[in-house]
């Protein structure tokens, strides 16, 4: 029987959400890992776009930063940073935006700015917005990947860095956001999807061996369960092998990929925690 970590399961589940031929605006950290895994397995024609201006990058390993040389060297095109946001992201021509989070709320809003009730005197100062607000606003759909805990999955985020469904269904339309918003949240326990009526995230899938009450216990709001709840298949051997190959050649990068983009030490946990089987 294959053994794998919860992080590996999460990355594999995230990779599966990306279809071949899609264009994907990739955040750094786990989104980049998952997008590169997808390209190495079922989606060889996945187009990776990084906010550093690299369009169609084909890195052999997962880059540590969104500006590693390998991205420029393997890209179909490298454009300036103003251009990547204005001509490529903003008009809604990108299929999927792939983001991390330090805090996420029940309407899929993302916080990567400050933890605590005061912006001026934060408990934890996080790195901030980066490209995320406009990725979340403009892409046809958004996938979020984030480890699950009561603190991370809050009723309401302390600071809305990037809008999911705002105050609920209809918010995006009222705000004039052109993209579709979060379609899928992938955690180390399972997956959440927005209720199409309310915009509230509900539990849509669990990994093998994960119980619904466990997920609910690790969620800071009263998590509803989809009537169509599925058990997500464990990683296939091909998926695990590809993932481990992708990470192995750059130990320093791999060591750090456990830290999602935009997350401070609060989100840091050793890789390997949460082995499920």
């Amino acid at each position: 029987m294959l053994t794998y970590t919860a992080d590996e399961m999460m990355t594999v589940a995230a990779a599966r959400s990306l279809l071949n031929g899609m264009t994907c605006f990739v955040g750094i950290g786990r989104p980049s890992e998952a997008a590169n895994l997808a390209r190495r397995t079922h989606a060889p024609d996945l187009v990776l776009i990084y906010e550093s201006g690299t369009i169609g990058a084909k890195p052999g390993q997962v880059p540590l930063s969104i500006g590693d040389g390998i991205l420029a060297e393997t890209a179909d095109s490298v454009v300036s940073v103003p251009e990547i946001f204005n001509y490529w992201l903003q008009p809604g021509r990108i299929d999927v935006g792939f983001l991390g989070a330090a805090q996420l709320d029940k309407f899929g809003n993302i916080n990567t700015t400050v933890i605590g009730s005061s912006y001026a005197e934060p408990r934890v100062r996080l790195p901030g917005a980066g490209g995320a607000p406009e990725i979340a606003a403009a892409c046809k759909e958004v996938v979020v990947i984030v480890r699950q805990s009561r603190r991370t999955f809050a009723e309401r985020v302390d600071f809305v860095t990037s809008v999911g469904f705002g105050d609920g269904a209809g918010s995006r339309q009222r705000l004039g956001l052109t993209g579709g918003g979060p379609k899928l949240v992938i955690t180390d326990l399972g997956t959440l999807r927005p209720d199409p009526e309310t915009g509230e995230l509900v539990l849509a899938g669990v990994y093998p061996g994960v119980s619904v009450p466990l997920v609910q216990e690790k969620t800071g709001w009263d998590l509803a369960v989809s009537p169509d709840l599925v058990e997500i298949p464990a990683p296939a051997e091909t998926e695990l092998t590809a993932l481990r190959e992708l990470l192995s050649p750059t130990p320093s990068a791999a060591r750090q990929l456990a830290v999602p983009d935009g997350a401070g030490p609060a989100a840091r946990r050793p890789v390997g925690e949460g082995v499920l089987s």
Partner: protein, 284 residues
């Protein structure tokens, strides 16, 4: 026309106390050596502007050069927090740091507006975010044709732009390639500019993906090989990821940071590439 001078002379001539300074470079081509020279020369009260303040701004903030930070993502890319930045924001050490915080799209457009000689730029952005209530330079704007409400951001017009490039020619024309970021906009938006380069050649050769800044758009050029370290210059060096990882430890502790600064910045000779003594691995 650009003057080719030493790094020390360039910074002394271009960067003054109280200036608004944009040291740009999107992960690639970050002007670390020039930043160290600013620290060495003891500049104070700077408003530091940069989309992705990372290690060099962490150092400038920790060294007490900065009064204010205008930015969109202040982190150690791929690693996590900037501890000197956090210490300044969370505990006002060594002094309080005023923040003006934006998104990348906002900052990129603010630089583009500055480069274009416009007081503002228009984008789809910020709407629904908490940034709106906590920053300046962002306002609603209504399309005069469709009535749609969009977002205006105010132009950035720094006093000085500082960038690192691969090559200059002897006339001071600048060429850089790879990830080209927002440096062209930063230079064109700023009143003055300093460019450090890996190499000075007789004449530039055309290269795929290269940006060329004509000599007449630049004020000072300094020859500083390795001047981007631990960032990199495509074709000349690779990103020193171990240094970025190691910085996490160095920067967590005020004393350790100060000791590092003493040894590697204040103790370094100005024109020597500041990266030389601090290669990753062992020291980090």
């Amino acid at each position: 026309m650009a003057e080719i001078v030493t790094l020390a002379d360039a910074i002394a001539a271009a960067v003054r106390d109280g200036d608004t300074v944009a040291m740009e470079g999107f992960t690639h081509l970050i002007p670390h050596a020039a930043g160290h020279e600013v620290i060495r020369q003891g500049r104070r009260d700077l408003t530091l502007v940069r989309m992705t303040p990372d290690i060099i701004y962490d150092q400038l903030i920790g060294a007490g050069c900065a009064r204010k930070l205008v930015f969109s993502w202040a982190g150690n890319p791929g690693v996590g927090s900037l501890h000197r930045f956090r210490d300044a924001v969370e505990r006002s050490w060594p002094q309080p740091l005023e923040l003006e915080e934006h998104s990348h799209a906002g900052m990129a457009n603010r630089f583009a507006a500055g480069a274009s000689g416009l007081p503002f730029a228009v984008l789809r952005g910020y709407r629904g975010t908490s940034l709106l209530a906590n920053t300046t330079g962002v306002a609603d704007i209504v399309c005069p044709f469709t009535g749609e409400t969009l977002t205006a951001v105010s132009a950035l017009r720094p006093d000085v732009a500082v960038i690192h490039a691969q090559v200059a020619d002897t006339r001071g024309n600048i060429q850089y390639w790879g990830i080209t970021g927002v440096q062209k906009e930063a230079v064109l938006a700023s009143a003055r500019s300093v460019v450090t380069v890996e190499e000075i050649v007789d004449s530039l050769e055309p290269r795929p993906g290269a940006v060329v800044l004509p000599s007449w758009t630049v004020d000072y050029v300094a020859h500083v090989p390795g001047g981007a370290h631990p960032s990199y210059a495509l074709g000349y060096s690779t990103r020193d990821n171990d240094f970025y990882l190691g910085w996490d430890e160095i920067s967590r502790d005020r004393d350790r940071f100060s000791a590092w600064l003493d040894e590697h910045v204040y103790g370094a000779r100005p024109q020597v590439a500041a990266g030389a003594g601090i290669k990753g691995g062992a020291e980090c």
